[in-house]
């Protein structure tokens, strides 16, 4: 029998989502320790590489959200150092993390997505905002969603109901990065589907339905216990449930994701619409992946442990 590797839970970093990442890290650490794993928690700083290379049999569990965590940069370093890790390879991270890229790829594969336009802020400087903003409204209609292309936790995201609010929403999104996406607003039932692959191919986990009390699943609704109602498995028809599960698995495969992902979906009158996918989904006390996994047969902790084993086995060939 192979002994359990040491797990290095990587959390923190310098992104805007540092706080969430630290909370995700603590939750996964505790879950793995409960199952007997030796776990070290590490921030991403100048001591990280020395820490990792100083360990003999280690698997990294990256839980960094936002830049460098989800854009594949850190995973590139892990790959370079031959340190096995849980999760998607860098190239696919880059595809998935950028909403402008991932939505385009998903749409091209025939999956329903909102109409989307991706715009770097430099473009507005060069061409002037007035006409572009007006055209956006005309092309996509209202309401619109404005989001930073490369950020999570709903940071910098604004629903825009009227043309006069669009410029401020754009500025808010550019606060989190130089590229913003503007999407047609999709109204309907919000759900999310976790996909896990512990060696038997990607499997959709129970669908989670999300009903924020405020009506908007923003940062506050995501991270305040009690602010959102979750139903697991979602009370949907078998057909819609199947469509959501299938969409999440398709996206996972299409983008070349590995081990785990979470795909956010809104179900409108015509069925499920892809909103975005996450390669390092939140694992906090109010996050959706733990909810979904705890509703499944194995539970959150066991699945985390299985993912570590899969990563270790990959390294051993």
């Amino acid at each position: 029998m192979t002994s359990k590797p040491t797990v290095a839970v990587l959390a923190g970093g310098l992104s805007h989502e540092r706080e969430i990442s630290l909370r995700s890290g603590r939750r996964v650490t505790q879950a793995l320790r409960d199952l007997g794993h030796e776990v070290i928690e590490s921030d991403v700083d100048s001591g990280l590489i020395e820490t990792l290379t100083g360990l003999d049999d280690v698997v990294a569990f990256p839980l960094l959200h936002g830049e460098s965590g989800e854009d594949g940069a850190l995973r590139e370093v892990l790959s370079m150092l031959d340190i096995p890790f849980v999760g998607t390879l860098p190239r696919s991270c880059r595809l998935a993390f950028d909403k402008a890229v991932s939505t385009t790829l998903v749409r091209r594969a025939g999956i329903r997505t909102p109409e989307q336009v991706a715009l770097p802020h430099d473009l507005f400087r060069e061409l002037g905002a007035k006409h572009i903003v007006r055209s956006l409204g005309e092309k996509l209609g209202f309401p619109l969603m404005v989001k930073p292309a490369r950020c999570g936790s709903a940071l910098g995201c604004t629903r825009v109901d009227a043309p006069e609010d669009l410029p401020a929403a754009m500025v808010a999104a550019y606060g989190y990065g130089p590229l913003a996406v503007v999407e047609e607003g999709v109204s309907g039932v919000e759900v999310t589907v976790t996909v896990i692959d512990t060696g038997n191919g990607p499997e959709a986990q129970p669908v989670v339905k999300i009903e924020p009390a405020s009506g908007v699943y923003d940062y506050e609704a995501r991270y305040t216990a009690g602010a959102t109602r979750f139903t697991v498995p979602a009370d949907l028809s078998d057909e819609i449930t199947a469509q959501c599960a299938d969409m999440a698995v398709r996206v996972h495969e299409l983008l070349g994701l590995r081990d785990l992902s979470r795909t956010d979906i809104i179900i409108d009158e015509e069925g499920p619409v892809f909103i975005e996918t996450n390669v390092a989904p939140g694992m906090t006390e109010t996050s959706l992946v733990p909810l979904a996994l705890d509703a499944g047969p194995d539970g959150f902790a066991k699945v985390c442990s299985q993912l570590v084993s899969v990563a270790a086995a990959r390294a051993r060939g």
């Binding site: 310098l14 992104s15 805007h16 989502e17 540092r18 706080e19 700083d45 025939g110 802020h121 507005f124 400087r125 002037g128 905002a129 007035k130 936790s153 940071l155 910098g156 006069e164 410029p167 401020a168 929403a169 754009m170 500025v171 808010a172 550019y174 606060g175 989190y176 990065g177 499997e203 959709a204 986990q205 129970p206 940062y219 506050e220 995501r222 991270y223 305040t224 216990a225 009690g226 602010a227 959102t228 109602r229 979750f230 139903t231 697991v232 498995p233 009370d235 199947a242 469509q243 599960a245 299938d246 698995v249 398709r250 495969e253 006390e285 109010t286 909810l291 509703a295 499944g296 047969p297």
Partner: protein, 448 residues
């Protein structure tokens, strides 16, 4: 690749029934006052500010690195050897007489004459403020505060469901005419105004100090209107230019409740502050303190007492003043060199903070993510208002970073503001043309 039309239900794991949860079993049981205690994206950004790569001009942490830690350690060692069994025991709800006597000596530095019987020890002056609010305020009572005012005080007042009314300031602090007008107007509306909360020395966040004459004018208005004043004075001894001014409490005994603290003049980790209050109020405070904690931290009281008795604490404060002067000067120099045109700031003569007014159209809260990306942090101005104002302001603190880091921080900040101005110009954003944001819970205590 999977065919979307050939879904196989067996790929969904089996589950043990449907769960319907809000992840908080007690969500419907909380008191009304708890309902606004929610997560905040702005607060979460401060997590990044603690990383060494970021120049944090946000935190109000005193720089205690210059304390003679070896000597403090020896004092505590001797104290425990000598008196450990007593100082680790429960103590008096009012606080230990020994330290209350010494506190009267400390307050004498600001011309306050007080009797130890009128001093109540608290777990930091923050708890003093909590106890004062607890004994005076019912829900919907009005508390008056400066515009802007200390974020921790606003949090306390909100937690007791009071209504907070701001009173305008000018370059000499709280405006007495505005105070008279606000109180009169509120009373005409049938509102119960319980007290004025003011920080006369180096206001947090504005960095403004009320001159002595201004204090007299405010006291006169309070006298005319029969208004209680809560004077919060954590920074009074940390003058950078000149000597400490007489506290309001030194001019008026019955109408002023005075809050003092060792957090800035010694070290905040001991959590020892005090309230000096008129006799009847003090009695209520002691009962409230006993209800809250039985007694304030006994070990901390004796530790500080030992420090005051055996260390040149006045000399230590002089050292602090020199150190903070250097940092204040670095901040003012950095702002002069790096701020874009249209930015203005206050020139504090003590304390920890500079209050910056941004060029038109720049919203400090919306700009914060950009600042964090540029590795510099500040506290957005709306944290210091209970009514959603303050978005064109920010608080910068010079107490903790070194002078070199302060200069670098202002350089980064200058670039961030300039960027924000450019992007606002592109999108035609003005002060009247922003998204309205909901007031969020104040920043976390470590930046208070």
């Amino acid at each position: 690749m999977t065919d979307p039309h050939s879904f196989n239900p067996s790929r969904l794991p089996s589950t043990g029934g449907r769960s319907d949860t809000r992840l908080d079993h007690y969500v419907d049981s909380y008191a009304q006052r708890t309902h606004k205690m929610t997560a905040s994206a702005v607060r979460s950004l401060f997590s990044v500010a603690n990383r060494p790569e970021v120049v944090s001009l946000a935190g109000g942490m005193p720089n205690i690195a210059d304390l003679p830690l070896g000597k403090v350690g020896n004092l505590l060692d001797e104290l425990i050897q000598r008196d450990g069994a007593r100082i680790m025991q429960y103590g008096s709800g009012q606080g230990e007489l020994q330290i209350r006597e010494q506190i009267c000596e400390v307050m004498a530095e600001e011309q306050i004459r007080a009797h130890p019987d009128d001093v109540v020890i608290t777990a930091g002056s923050q708890q003093g403020l909590d106890l004062v609010t607890r004994i005076f305020c019912d829900p919907d009572d009005v508390v008056l505060v400066e515009a802007p005012s200390y974020v921790g005080a606003l949090g306390t007042f909100k937690s007791y469901q009071t209504q907070i009314s701001h009173v305008a300031m000018d370059d000499q602090g709280l405006d007495p005419d505005a105070l008279r007008q606000v109180v009169t107007s509120l009373r005409d509306q049938g509102r119960r105004v319980k007290f004025l909360y003011t920080i006369p020395n180096f206001n947090n966040p504005a960095g403004i100090t009320q001159p002595t004459e201004r204090r007299r004018e405010i006291l006169q208005v309070a006298e005319d209107l029969d208004l209680l004043i809560v004077e919060d004075n954590p920074y009074g001894l940390l003058t950078i230019d000149g000597e400490p001014l007489p506290a309001m409490r030194s001019m008026e005994t019955d109408r002023v409740i005075y809050l003092g603290s060792f957090s800035k003049t010694f070290a905040p980790g001991f959590r020892v502050g005090w309230v000096l209050a008129p006799h009847a109020v003090r009695e209520k405070l002691v009962l409230a303190q006993e209800s809250a904690t039985l007694c304030p931290p006994v070990f901390s009281q004796f530790a500080i007492s030992e420090y005051l008795a055996k260390h040149d604490w006045r000399g230590q404060i002089r050292q602090y003043r020199d150190m903070y002067r250097e940092r204040r000067d670095a901040m003012l120099q950095g702002l002069t060199e790096n701020m874009p045109q249209g930015t203005t700031w206050t020139h504090p003569t003590g304390g920890f903070f500079v209050w910056v007014t941004l060029p038109q159209g720049v919203d400090s809260q919306k700009m914060l993510p950009r600042a964090v990306t540029a590795r510099v942090a500040y506290v957005p101005g709306d944290a210091f208002f209970a009514d959603g104002f303050g978005s064109r302001h920010m608080r910068l603190s010079y107490c903790f970073p070194t002078p070199e880091r302060i200069i670098e921080g202002t350089r980064r900040l200058g670039e961030v503001i300039a960027d924000e101005m450019r992007i606002n110009e592109v999108f035609g954003i003005t002060d009247d043309h922003r998204l309205h944001s909901n007031p969020t819970p104040g920043p976390s205590p470590d930046i208070s």
